[in-house]
Amino acid sequence: MLELDGIELVLDGQTFLSRTDLVLERGTLNVLLGPTLAGKTSLMRVMAGLDVPTRGEIRWNGKRVNGDRVQSRDVAMVYQQFINYPAMTVYDNIASPLRIKGRPAAEIDRKTRAVAELMKLTPLLDRRPQNLSGGQQQRCALARALVKEAGLVLLDEPLANLDYKLREELREEMPRIFEQSGAIFVYATTEPEEALLLNGNTATMWQGRVTQFGRSTQVYRNPVDVTTARVFSDPPFNFWQVEKRGNRIVFGEGQSFATTAPMAALPDGPYQAGFRAAHLELHQHRAGAVAFTCRLIVTEITGSETFLHLEHGADRWVGVVHGVHDLAPESLMSVWLDPAHCYLFGPEGGLCATAAYAMRN
């Protein structure tokens, strides 16, 4: 079990992490999700022991490990860049963590070959890393991290520099590898989709802080605040200003819709309403759906889906709808939203009412 207790990291007067608490259990896969510079790498470096936290305590299986040597920690790490030892063959690369531990030669050989097989590197064992493709190099780095059988495996955007096909391939293999190992995996990524696909826990990060931690689907459906909603959403979360008056949610020039179950008990007053891009529709799909008049700025067609970039008053919205829709830019159009997909956030950004659909499951 890895416990981070009030971790802060300040280097050269610059704050990289501010008061972070996190508890990671054995045998779990934990995703650190956040945009670039959110502090994912800093947090991993603290977990690995490469950086010593300025304040706070880091405990490994109940024992304080602040400032312990990196070498003595039960950790393995894979970087976004493909980091291997260029002077060694793939076999020697994978075997190196075991050799340095002084394990018997037979065990080293057996484990190295087993991990190489798992990572599909067996035909490449005699090559040098620089003679491999990017995906193979990263698989070599992953193999080296796995062979050590460390209790904590840190993967810092391991698929970020790979091409699409390879990413899909490795991403599919990852959960299987995690299951076999029983270690704590920490996986940093900038992509919400990846966090959901890996099917574990997610910690959303923003400006050096963990904003929420829990089951990925739980965090996705019930973000605790505006920041988490924004971080865990691609395309971006859409917001607009509303006011609760009695059992109606009022906005714009007198438009309104009835409160949903989670909203009913809220006190009257101003709120920030939000919804996901995928919940916007081009036609009235439900009886209670609310219509918005928006200006279409641009459409992006990806094949099976169309991205609509809209202007609703002063707010910029993005909608994703199925199928190919060839719409004229700069035109005024109506879009529909089911109030069951609408979240309400307070003026401070905290979640006040979750979307009704998220409560059903």
Binding site: A48, L50, V70, P86, S96
Partner: protein, 289 residues
Amino acid sequence: MTRPSPNLTLAARQRHLEGKGTGWTVTARVTLAVYLLFLMVPIYWLVNMSFKTNTEILNFITLVPEDFTWDNYTLIFTDPTWYMGYVNTLIYVAINVAISITVALPAAYAFSRYSFMGDKHLFFWLLSNRMAPPAVFALPFFQLYSSVGLFDTHIAVALAHCLFNVPLAVWILEGFMRGVPKEIDETAFVDGYPFWKFFLRIFVPLISAGIGVTAFFCFMFSSVELLLSRTLTGTSVRTVGVAMTRTSSAIGLEYGTLAAAGVLTIIPGALVIWFVRNYIAKGFALGRV
């Protein structure tokens, strides 16, 4: 259209077929040839002289030795005052290169990986050592080494040359080390490598090209430096450079012998250049050297 005459050279025919103007190509080639010739003249003259007798050198101007002789080389390989010069030179150069690289490796690593108070000033100060003329240090070294009993030893010259070679080595190696991502160091530490094992097994092989280039430059500087090696040696470890500049016998200067010594001095340098030529290009590409 004229038919190319059959006695044109192949290159000329090629140009004719391509219909290109030949003026510039010819000018460029002639210029290059003249330039190369100009560069080669001193070396050719040295080799030429080394196979002549002293009489021929002093009395005639001949483009090839008329009275061809191996005597000059024979003298050098049989007279200990000559061949020991080479041995001495190789010994102190080897010591110097070994010391410079050993000392500069950790220093360059520190400069390339850590920032510490005054690191930039220290780096510049190291470089500025390289800029001082050796003559400045000749007297203090001579006095110091004489009083501690180091005068006229190999290590004296090797240590004195470190004053210039260590900064140079730190500077070149730092450039190569900077090119190695810091993540490799960290991955190795996470994998469990203690620092020295990482340094020797992973890091040093990574910058072997840089070490080659550095060794070459230290070798070059140390083997051609004359002033300090002359000041700090007496008769027992006389270097070849010193031998060459002090050789005037009762019958005047032995030009032929000196020329042969010169040729033999160039050969080791040329060999070293041949072996590290590819790395040097890499060194230049990295913005150091």
